[in-house]
Symmetry: C2
Subunit: 345 residues, 2 copies
């Protein structure tokens, strides 16, 4: 049994998407049990639409909902909200394995740090989506927005966290780690990158391949790309925008002439597969990495399928023993020494 | 007559690409005259392959070539190199309007600052490519790598430079300017972004629409996106990588079955147009903006068509009166006051 708690009120389409996604996840993975937090009557109203294994789903009534306009540090105090209640339960109840939410990113990060807590030794959690790459797998990019400002020690820890996630979530045994920079040469970048490069080169427990560029996230050779939360966020959203432009141009071009309309009939399936490979929303959310249990932040505009994928992703990460993997890497990397060195920077 | 100087030895495919591109540009735009710097014998060897208007092309023999491995601050001293000779001539000869090079980015930036010089009042030049957007036009993104570290006053100047380029190069009369950030809310980002937002909101001479995200570069509403050189570079290369992934996936999908192979025959032209819209290399290079004359840095892997487009782009920018437009905006924006304020930050 893998018991996952879902913030049923989080996201633009809640509770429709969250409930539908939860039901789909139950059907797809028989090991999953779910706890849904949120307004019981609304959740039950949605659940009525579907048939599902009722022994594997329970509801915890929470009258309050945090929205995108709430200030995270204030929102964290609202214990009766679906998100913070979920965090409190995740912290207290040992059999709860992971949390999935499509709610406010800021509140998810603050709640994770203040309620659930970080893995011992980790300075800051990082947001880590899995991005499709030309090798047919995924590249993990972190941090994508939890920390706009970073120090070298944080980036070094992100390298550990990302390596553990690559192993636990995707079965990559010796994940290659790159440092996102504005060039591949050793001396490239600002002082943050230059210092980090020095420390990362000496770190135990990771396979550091050096500086990488933005293009390497999707077409490069590494499994984990480490960035500060500002440039990681810029990279992620730039790729997202490019993906949308491409699909838009393709759609327009394919309806631009009779010939291309005929052609489209033959390639519909290929285009659909391609669209699936580029749909960042479908990837199953970003992992908030570095907390005591896995927390998946699904896109605010999540559809049922996205929520389903996020829940299954959470189950897989738990199965892959993410938190023990992080702890093991932390001990290998002799982090105390590193922290001492890099805190002076 | 628009006389442009071309570094004929710059780039991976020089002098083949540079010479072929130069000949194509002469044919495409009768107002253009060209001066090619580089090894005369090699250039003449390439020129023999083509017929062209010999009255509009001259060669200046330079025995030395700067390559990607040379340290820019050292390379700038090599006066007999094709790039630095081009810079010296551009500085001294009044009838030379612009420079095009596919050589080392670092050497181009250093040479631009130390030999040609900046427009009076401009603190640092910025690298500015034109990126295709969903509106069917281009978004100017600057800085894309000339300055890994920036201060608020530099970003404010980039807003002016980008606005002038939008007007002079693309006829956009009231270009909208966005600040690249990790969210659109006013308080978002690190101290650099927060300070810059404050100053930019008060600036005269630009139409500042606030913070924008990475996705807005390709699918947003603004014409100019301002970034520090580090995150601008990350954004540009992330989009480039995404574009390459998409074209790769598309190619694979379209040859994956008999049906899609048949379909491809009907949509070949549409796909080719789409590829053209996504090929960053074809866009005609990035403008090194803020110097006394327009300098276009074309991609190191430039093909003849890229060089042709870069030369024509340079001619158009000169015709559009870029430098006077920058000077006008600088005076409107009351930059002395701004510099005083932001230098304290």
């Amino acid at each position: 049994m893998i018991k996952i708690i879902v913030d049923a009120m989080g996201g633009d389409n809640a509770p429709y998407s969250t409930v539908a996604g939860a039901v789909q996840a139950l059907a797809a993975d028989k090991e999953i049990h779910l706890v849904l937090t949120g307004r019981q009557a609304e959740i039950e109203g949605e659940l009525k639409k579907y048939s599902f294994d009722k022994t594997r789903l329970e509801i915890v009534d929470c009258p309050d909902v945090i929205d995108m306009n709430d200030i995270p540090t204030e929102a964290v105090k609202r214990k009766q909200s679906s998100l913070m209640q979920a965090y409190w339960m995740l912290k207290k109840e040992e059999d709860l394995c992971a949390l999935v939410t499509a709610g406010s990113t800021g509140a998810t990060i603050v709640g994770g740090q203040l309620i659930l807590g970080r893995i011992r030794g980790i300075k800051r959690p990082a947001l880590c989506p899995a991005i499709p790459n030309t090798r047919g797998g995924v590249t993990l990019l972190l941090d994508c927005g939890a920390n706009a400002e970073c120090k070298p020690v944080m980036l070094c820890q992100f390298a550990l966290l990302g390596s553990a996630y690559a192993k636990a979530g995707f079965g990559i045994n010796n994940p290659k780690v790159g440092l996102l920079n504005n060039g591949t040469e050793e001396h490239k970048g600002d002082p943050l990158r230059q210092e980090t490069f020095k420390y990362m080169s000496q770190m135990e427990g990771i396979d550091f391949i050096g500086n990488v560029e933005g293009r390497d996230i999707m077409i490069g050779d590494c499994d984990v790309v480490v960035a500060d939360g500002f440039s990681g966020n810029v990279a992620l959203k730039s790729m997202e925008g490019c993906g949308k432009l491409v699909l838009g141009v393709l759609k327009k071009e394919l309806s631009s002439s009779l010939s291309s309309k005929i052609g489209y009939l033959f390639i519909r399936k290929a285009i659909k597969r391609m669209r699936g490979q580029l749909d960042f929303d479908k990837m199953g959310g970003a992992l908030l990495l570095g907390l005591k249990k896995p927390v998946i932040k699904s896109h605010g505009s999540s559809k049922p399928e996205t929520i389903k994928n996020s829940i299954i992703n959470a189950a897989n990460i738990y199965r892959g023993k993410l938190v023990p993997a992080v702890e093991e890497l932390l001990s290998t990397a002799d982090l105390d020494n590193l922290t001492e060195q890099t805190d002076e920077v």
